[in-house]
Amino acid sequence: RLKTTILIIVGFMAFPSFMMAQQIYTGQVKDSLTGAPIQSASVTLLSSGKGAISDSAGQFSIQASPGEKLSVSSIGYVGTTVTLASNTNLSIVLHSAAGTLDEVVIIGYGSARRSQVVGSVAQVDGKDIAARPVLSAAQGIQGKVPGVQITASGAPGSQPEVRVRGVGSVLGDANPIFVVDGVITSDITNINNNDIASVQVLKDASAQAIYGSRAGNGVVIITTKSGKSGKMQIHLNTYTGFKTPTSTVKMADARTYAAFTNAARAYDNVDPAFDLDTLSATTNWFDEVTHKGIIQNYDLNISGGSEKVTYYFGGSVFKDQGIIPGEDYTRAAFRINNTYQLAPFLKLGNNLNVSVYNMNNKPTEFDDAYRMAPTVPVRFDDGSYGYTSLLSVANPVAKLDLTHDKGDQLRLQGNVFAELKPVNGLTLRSSYNFDYHNNNQKVYTPVYFIWSGQKNDISSLSQSNNNSFYYIIDNNATYNKTFGLHEINATLGYSSEKNRDKSWSGSIQNVPADPNLWYLDQGDNNADVGSSGAILTRASAYSRLIYTYDRRYIFNGSLRRDGSSSFPTDNQYGTFYSIGGAWVISEEKFMKNQTLFNSLKLRAGYGKVGNDITISNLRILNEISLQSKYYGFGGSNTAAQQAWTFDQIKDAAVSWETTKGTDLGLEFALLKNKLSGDISYYNKLTHAYIPVTVPTTFGDQDKIVYSQAADVRNKGVEFELNWQDHTSKDFSYHLGFNMTFNTNVVDHVDGTLQLKGGSLGNGEIVTYTVPGQPIGSFWVYQTDGIYKSQDEIDNSAHIQGAQPGDFRYVDQNGDDLINDKDRIFAGSYQPKFYYGINGGFAFKGLDFSFDLYGNAGNKIYNGKKAVRFGNDEIEAARVDDMWSTDNPNGTQPRASNAIPKPSTYYVESGNFLRVNNVTLGYTFSNTQKWHIQSLRVFASAENPLIWKKYSGYTPELPGNALSSGIELSIYPVTATYMFGVNVGF
């Protein structure tokens, strides 16, 4: 963690003196507010570089001469320099640096004081992330950073969806890139959260532009921990707990369902399906496909070092069973971060991470469990799986039992680097950063027969392997120099990257049921095998200049040029840039006499960033397409003939997807740094790829040509306020609030392109992306009540087959027909605002914290409710005040087995507020008697509560931008209750 710097000292005034003989200086380092001793502060003599480390009582001793300068620093504190005098007993007080303008912030290819940052950069401390029982740091920052929306599912092993200041890319991956110690990746599930020192989110173009070509959807920089010279530190952290679904949906019991179904069939003149007098017990299918899952984490890390060498070793095991019986995810991760100061001007180092996971996958059966008839038992009396031929729904329990899907991964990630400082102020850094994945998957499908709608006549095995090796070679020079009032920080660098993917897969039939025989050799006949590969390369030159005048005025400019092998040769290069400035008002002379503001800074920036990963394989314009089907000329005695043709059209003009944006911000701290905050405005425009539909007659097999034909704008205001105070030595508390208002709108789409999406899988689509509306807006019929009579139907525009008791749809254009022209835009999943609230207190050994997250102003399409194929289970509330001839004024439509029309009836509010985490901990004092330095125990609840209007399982629905916010078979967010221990030796 690279917070540091500033000084404060006190003790004695330096007095003029001459060099004296060396003597032993001793002292204590303390926190300025609480007076608590600061452990592991590094104490260094500037003249010789000799150093010492404070112990657990904050004590240190060092041999020095009067007149020498002693620098004292500790992570999270503003450092200080003391000129030694004759008094050899020092008392050194450090101020917390958190949130101040002197806090050191990682800005990509370097760091800067917060005051020098002209873009929007949010920082989250590693310990805030490690405190939550989640797999990835991406989820750990949920609710903590304004402008960053995290949408997670509860599925074990999954990484949540991250949106930095709205969604820009329409297609593919709109997640930011993650930069882990210099390795650029899209997947950080391999990183143990306890190994993370800090996370920085670069939110606007002027912060991102140094990563310009890759930064179109934002940049998240993750810095892992390193050792510090001094005494060895050992930390053991562990927690264990269980997971349950946070909320459920109340379904109809067997009798209600049967009566509804009989009534629906009666309208269609079909015989009743049930005799209400002979129904057996109700099956609660949701309960049958969920259970209490166990979650566990064990983490041990050892760090320390000398003046020449620092080391950090971390090892951890994380296990998540999830809430679906039979699924689990187990990850072991090991980290070695070392540095070697070979000479005062030369440092070598490495950050290496090895991770392995194993997982058992199960299908998310929440849709089948939702639709399956409650009259069907899990198993019949004879032990066979229950079914009904009324429904094309698989027995969800059988499906879980019969799924054998195992995956594993070995991942090696890290870097080695060398830093050379040939002259004062200049640092040359070379690094080799790499990331290797090796993934295996094996799926076995046994022979089974439940009924003709759920059977498998022949066993099969499929096996696959994907591996990739990615590297970036990065060489850069940074020059930091202060000339009087002028300060220059310049960076110039060059990098080349290459990613090589390889994969193979094979499948075969008739494999025995014993797991030890699940190999392709054991099947009969020939295996169907395939393999593939891909290479992606990039070459980039980048530069940045930060000029600071008198600590008051800051100019920042960056320029980057990138080439990518994703594009046709003529369009491979893109130029990205940013320009920005900041004014540190609090450094002005006229602010010297006020006491309200401790810091006040205004910033503004503009820049252009890009993205080359939205659509892969755009480069080859004239590619032969191997057809998936062969042709069987000559009957069974002749080998089938392979087929190929040209059937894909590509846009020859494709190049970088670009985002241009402006950021304005005001940062402040006041009342002795007790209140701090940040208000920002942003406005960015993404020139996005969309699937352009061409007529089939062009000869494009799927009718889709990817082209940059849409402009998507995200603009908004975000703010953050934090209050922290220590009212006494024993009591401190903090409270924080952040909120982001975002407007997402499609400014322009070329021509009359059809960007319809959101297929429900029953022939209906419910989203449409058009200029003037947010991406993926729900596009549905408007209901305005229920037909009460046949007369009413006959005298109005209606859909074919409408009966009394059905929804009335508004004939928007008055043409007496109900068709697509009558659909309206009924909101989208893009929230109008989202927010986080966090707080806590510490009283003596006790600590308490809470963390809330919410969003509002968006809509959800209750897809699972809107997909009915007939005779499906219903929600319990469906029959409340349902229309029937006996209840002619009912407000809910009649019982029906018709496929529902997409309508406003299924569009629900997406507003929610969720308690992310509540933790209560206790730190024991006087633990030395047990030969340990520190001991804390804690109990924590993750996602225990949610307030939502939405009637489904969860309002948090990760998904593609064009069709997000449709709940079909989501893995719900889960609640975790756990207990843990942190021990330090």
Binding site: S389, L390, L391, F449, S452, G453, K455, D457, I458, Q509, N525, N526, D528, G533, A534, I535, L536, T537, R538, A539, S565, Q572, I620, N622, E623, I624, L626, Q627, S628, K629, Y630, Y631, G632, G634, G635, S636, Q641, Q642, A643, T645, F646, D647, T693, V694, P695, T696, T697, F698, G699, V705, G751, T752, Q754, N762, G763, F869, G870, D872, N897, I899
Partner: protein, 487 residues
Amino acid sequence: SKSYLNPTPQNTVQQNDSIYTDPAGAAKFLAACYTNLLQWNESSFSWLGLTSITSDDADKGSDPGDLGGDKDQMDALTYSATTGSVAEGWTGNYNGVSNCNQAILNIGLYTQLDAGLKNRYIAEAKFLRAYYYFNLVRMFGDVPLIDTVLNSENPDDVTKAATRVPEADIYAFIEKDLKEAMSVLPTNDNQAAADVGHATKGAAAGLLAKVSLYEKNYQQAYDLSSGIMQGSYGTYGLVDDYSTIWREIGENSKESLFEVQSKIGVPDAAVQQYTAVQGIRAGSFKRITEAGTVSVSAYSGWGFNVPSQDLDNAYEAGDKRKKATIIHIGDTLFDGVILVSAANPRYNYKAYVSVFDESYDGDGDNTNKNIRLLRMGDIVLINAEAANELGNTATAVSSLNLIRHRAGLGNTTASGQQGLRTAIWKERRVELAMECDRFFDLIRTGQAATVFSALGKTFTTGKNEHFPVPQVEIDATEGVTTQNPGY
């Protein structure tokens, strides 16, 4: 550097001169014209919806709530420009046209390919292009005529892709392609065993005979059908046992002029789910074995496209074709399977696969069921109809009786041109039942409005002769492609 940013594309063949050196590549371009026949959009669920479920021969089937996307609309003739099956019919056939245009262009570039083989390959591609256009013109009437590989950057080609040309021009183009194919392709007698499945002279002649019937060019239909029956275009004839035509033992027989080859195993060379969508739904089966009658698991599927009560009633007493076309509950099938119960009362026997007596590997989606696209039963009835229209009553009666005798029926009792005409149409229905011919035949013969009206369905004259042009195609051309009347 430039080469660093241009790595050799992996697992991708890029078009350049080198791909035209190995003649094996030409066979692959040709094969793509055929593999389109295996697609869902071309020959499977969409096709069954457009040409069979629409007709009076078949109902949607399956569970009442399972609509198969939009098959309820197909059954009720209420489809619109946004109905998926309609769009898939357009896509499936134009994909075929594109593959044929690519084959014709690219096969021509193979300099080391034997000239005779090159001509044959190109002729086969033209035969298939004609087949795809025949489907398009029957479904949509006026359609864009794409006879070359288009360049989407060329404004003339963009116009061509969007502009519908009159039906008559499409028919003229089909005739031209088929005549060129006929002049080059070998007869089935001269075809190597390993080439079975490739289009032959007989296939081209047969398809042209059928096309001629739609054009009401009865002389040409008569000449070609007579020629085929007399052996001028290869060796063909009616097989003795009607019930074997659609079974594995009837594959590529003398009955068959052209059939889609569906092959099980690795690699995948089967028609996509043609039998699965029509398979018996929720069936329970028994089978007589040495151990007595036991419950068994027979081939089953989704239960769509089921024979209608109306078709069931259409057979004369004693017609062997009824039990060879329709599976009823309680029937014992050719492989000894007894259908005890199922979700629907009737199923399409012609789509039934025996898991006991035929090649079956457990993969119900990809089965060994060839689709008979053109067979002698059709040709003989074309001959009868053309002869009757030309006033050649004796030939009409004798051809009609050939079909009736095989079905176990006596001579026709119809007489007079109109009487015979009706009898031949009736015979076409039962002979070709569930073979995707009926809906187009009703329109061709002008019977559609009357027939559907009797069944309580609305067939609007001036509208329902064609399907709507898919809205997605109209939108993709920004409205340049026009809609059919009434939609």
